[in-house]
Symmetry: C2
Subunit: 133 residues, 2 copies
């Protein structure tokens, strides 16, 4: 199965919760409570999403996180990229620096790029707003 990391799955749940309270500052512990997910895990997810500029963070007492943009303008590819890196099926895909033992001599190497583009195009049409409903 083309597997999405569990953390990415959780990230969507957390973001969906944030989208329903847009603009309001929510702490990691509050979000953990509302989503039913373990608090340390939620905290980790929020850090990653903040690093990917998907959400804004406010430090200090009474701090928290809030959505940076509208849910409708956040494609799920952005979420996946923030959590797992570029959306691409194979290591030898364009832009990846991962090594492949057959790099250069692989007859299908270049072909995957087209597949990845089709994949990105399909996923780019689904936004966070679609996941919230």
């Amino acid at each position: 199965m083309i597997k999405l990391a569990k953390l990415t799955d959780y990230a969507v749940v957390v973001l969906a919760e944030m989208a329903s309270s847009r603009g309001i500052l929510l702490s990691a512990s509050t979000l953990a409570e509302r989503t039913g997910l373990p608090e340390p895990t939620v905290a980790k997810i929020l850090k990653m999403l903040a690093a990917g500029n998907l959400i804004a963070s406010v430090r200090g007492a009474n701090g928290g996180y809030k959505l940076e943009r509208e849910a409708a303008s956040i494609p799920i590819t952005a979420v996946i990229e923030a959590m797992e890196g570029p959306v691409s099926l194979t290591a030898c895909a364009e832009g990846s620096h991962d090594t492949c033992s057959r790099k250069g001599s692989c007859s299908v190497e270049a072909r995957w790029n087209g597949v990845n583009k089709a994949l990105n195009a399909a996923l780019a049409n689904v936004t966070l707003a679609d996941m919230v409903q």
Copy 2:
């Protein structure tokens, strides 16, 4: 990254090699030699592909494998399914029997089905023939 198992990647390489010699019986060792992949690994891949009815096997001396259908009629989703199971991003997707701790109470559970369909549609348009060139 939306990760494809390495074996699946290899499977496409092997199938591409078989497609260029369609109808000819090729043994696992021959394919290993031509693709430059380790022989035991190629043998394993061929077994999985045969189990998925993507290729036909002939046992005994001078046996081997050959493509069951034309490359153009084999979508890469079929390859992925043979190697890794159904194409779906999340465990809670339709048809999966995997358990999810939030099953039933998860607000985004149903939404993933649409994403998975978009994904399958995008990948179904790419066939093995496209990978060969």
